[in-house]
């Protein structure tokens, strides 16, 4: 009973192979222009990690922006449902899921059964998405991982006023000129991000437990800023949060095959 999920995101493409509740393999690559190719490639990698071939897969579900273009999937499901599914699968006590990907941000509230009660998305503009952080990291000359780490060293995070990603960039440049430390800037950036996301999260009504998924959940600075904003702890997941969409898709695939 081997199921697979494939998440073709705007930035990264991810695949997960699942045997009942056991994660056999997973893989992550950068998305290319061609979702079909990205999907095939990542799947191959995940299969290799699990020492399997495509023929071993009983059912595969696709999700993400490129989901309609994945050749080998039998069904497509939206990212919102998949992220919720994945998080709930790992931790049934999860009630609120905040997914921040490269291009949007979603807050999802679940009931005890893991059904979606309400969700909100922000995709009006790039601020409040992972892309915002990427742009900022590049500006500061930092790796994405560092952006979170370095913000821990701040003494006084700056207050970013601009909301547009590009204008915020100008502001950061201005502060750099003034000799502001990178740590303070990074912390300010993470806080600005968290502040925007918190509004969204609160509008779906936060219930415990809360977790973050998507690539941005790997940024410890944003997580800490979120915790501070919301005043509640974010539960850490035992699987790479960026894989959550693909994992959820795989769980859906497993259900399709009759597994529970």
């Amino acid at each position: 009973m081997i199921a697979a999920g494939c998440d073709v995101g705007s930035l990264t493409t991810k695949a997960v192979i699942l045997n009942n509740t056991r994660l056999l393999g997973h893989a992550l690559i950068g998305s290319s222009f061609n979702p079909e190719k990205s999907a095939a490639e990542v799947m191959e990698k995940a299969l290799a990690a699990a020492h399997l071939t495509m023929d071993d897969i009983g059912f595969c579900v696709g999700t993400g922006y490129g989901r309609e273009r994945i050749g080998f999937v039998k069904k497509t499901i939206s990212e919102i449902s998949c992220h919720a599914k994945g998080a709930h699968f790992l931790q049934p006590s999860m009630r609120t899921i905040i997914d921040i990907g490269g291009q949007d941000c979603k807050a999802i509230r679940l009931d005890e059964k893991g059904e979606i009660v309400k969700f909100m998305t922000n995709d009006k503009c790039a601020s409040g998405t992972g892309r915002f952080l990427e742009v900022m990291a590049k500006l500061l000359g930092l790796e994405l991982e560092e952006l979170g780490r370095i913000s821990g060293q701040t003494t006084q995070p700056i207050n970013l006023a601009a909301t547009c990603t590009v204008w915020a960039q100008a502001e950061v440049i201005m502060h750099l000129n003034d000799g502001m430390s990178k740590a303070d800037l990074a912390a300010g950036i993470n806080e600005a991000m968290a502040a925007r996301i918190a509004i969204l999260a609160r509008s779906v009504g936060i219930e415990k437990d809360v977790c973050m998924t998507g690539g941005v959940a790997k940024n410890t600075g944003v997580i800490q800023a979120m915790e501070k904003q919301l005043g509640i702890p974010m539960r850490r997941l035992r699987v790479d949060p960026q894989m959550m969409g693909a994992l959820g898709a795989a769980v859906f695939a497993r259900e399709r095959m009759g597994g529970r």
């Binding site: 705007s10 009006k124 790039a126 500061l140 990603t165 960039q169 100008a170 440049i173 000129n177």
Partner: protein, 261 residues
């Protein structure tokens, strides 16, 4: 007497050295994270070309976003005044300058002396700026230099629905995937940007002699597209349009130097 203008922008830094009525050297580099460093580097480049040193420069005016961190400049001027001044000096008939840089777009109306009468900035977001083209070029794997060339082959420019730079990028990717011609996509991008900028220019009322400055003016596709959007023939700059701000700054420096004796 040598004077200089230094324009530290968001994408590029520009320096111009003038002697009397002539530009004797100019230099453009990509901006560094630290504006002070950009200024120093670009100025050195220009000085080298002119075989001069900093001591030879009697007066230097800085402009652009980083204008306040140019250590060697005696004064700072706004880009608006500089672009107006520079364009008018080079093309005396010009009464309106449309400057599209990396960070913003401006429409500037000037009188016959190059003095600014009215101006406006793009007020929405990054979607009306050169950054928009930069990001798109990056995601299509096209050199900025080639954008104009590529778009000249467009037959049926696409129509872009997204305002946000970042989301437009995804849209582009899906257009590529859908098999649309690169030239049509680039043509569509130019159209989108020029329509945004055209509305900016219209909001301060068009003049008859209009020119385009800033890095984006180097893009022939944009030049043509803006011409269409405005329905007017634009005056073409023979000088590199990207350095007009720095030229204006140098002119201001000349004036200041003259006033200061």
């Amino acid at each position: 007497m040598f004077v200089a203008g230094c324009d530290v922008g968001s994408l590029s830094a520009k320096a111009v050295i003038m002697k009397d009525e002539n530009i004797i050297a100019s230099h453009v580099i990509f901006a560094r994270p630290e504006p002070a460093e950009s200024a120093r580097t670009v100025m050195e480049g220009a000085l080298n070309k002119a075989c001069l040193t900093m001591e030879d420069i009697s007066y230097c005016v800085g402009t652009g976003y980083g204008r306040n961190s140019i250590s060697f400049a005696q004064a700072a001027e706004s880009e608006i005044a500089c672009h107006g001044k520079g364009a008018q000096w080079l093309k005396p008939q010009v009464r309106m300058v449309i400057d599209i840089g990396g960070q913003d777009a401006k429409a500037i109306r000037i009188d016959e002396t190059g003095r600014v009468l009215r101006y406006a900035y793009n007020d929405r977001c990054a979607s009306g700026t050169g950054r928009f083209l930069e990001v798109m070029a990056g995601s299509m794997g096209i050199e900025l230099n080639d954008m104009g060339e590529v778009s000249s082959q467009a037959k049926n420019p696409v129509s872009l629905s997204n305002q946000c730079v970042v989301f437009a990028e995804t849209e582009i990717i899906s257009l590529i995937n859908a098999g649309r011609d690169l030239s049509d996509i680039v043509g569509g991008l130019h159209k989108a940007l020029s329509h945004r900028v055209a509305s900016l220019a219209r909001s301060i009322e068009l003049e008859s002699e209009i020119t385009m400055t800033g890095g984006v003016a180097k893009n022939q596709g944009m030049f043509k597209s803006l011409q269409e959007a405005l329905g007017v023939k634009l005056v073409c700059m023979d000088t590199d349009p990207q350095i007009i701000g720095a030229v204006g700054a140098a002119l201001m420096a000349r004036q200041a130097a003259a006033e200061n004796g």
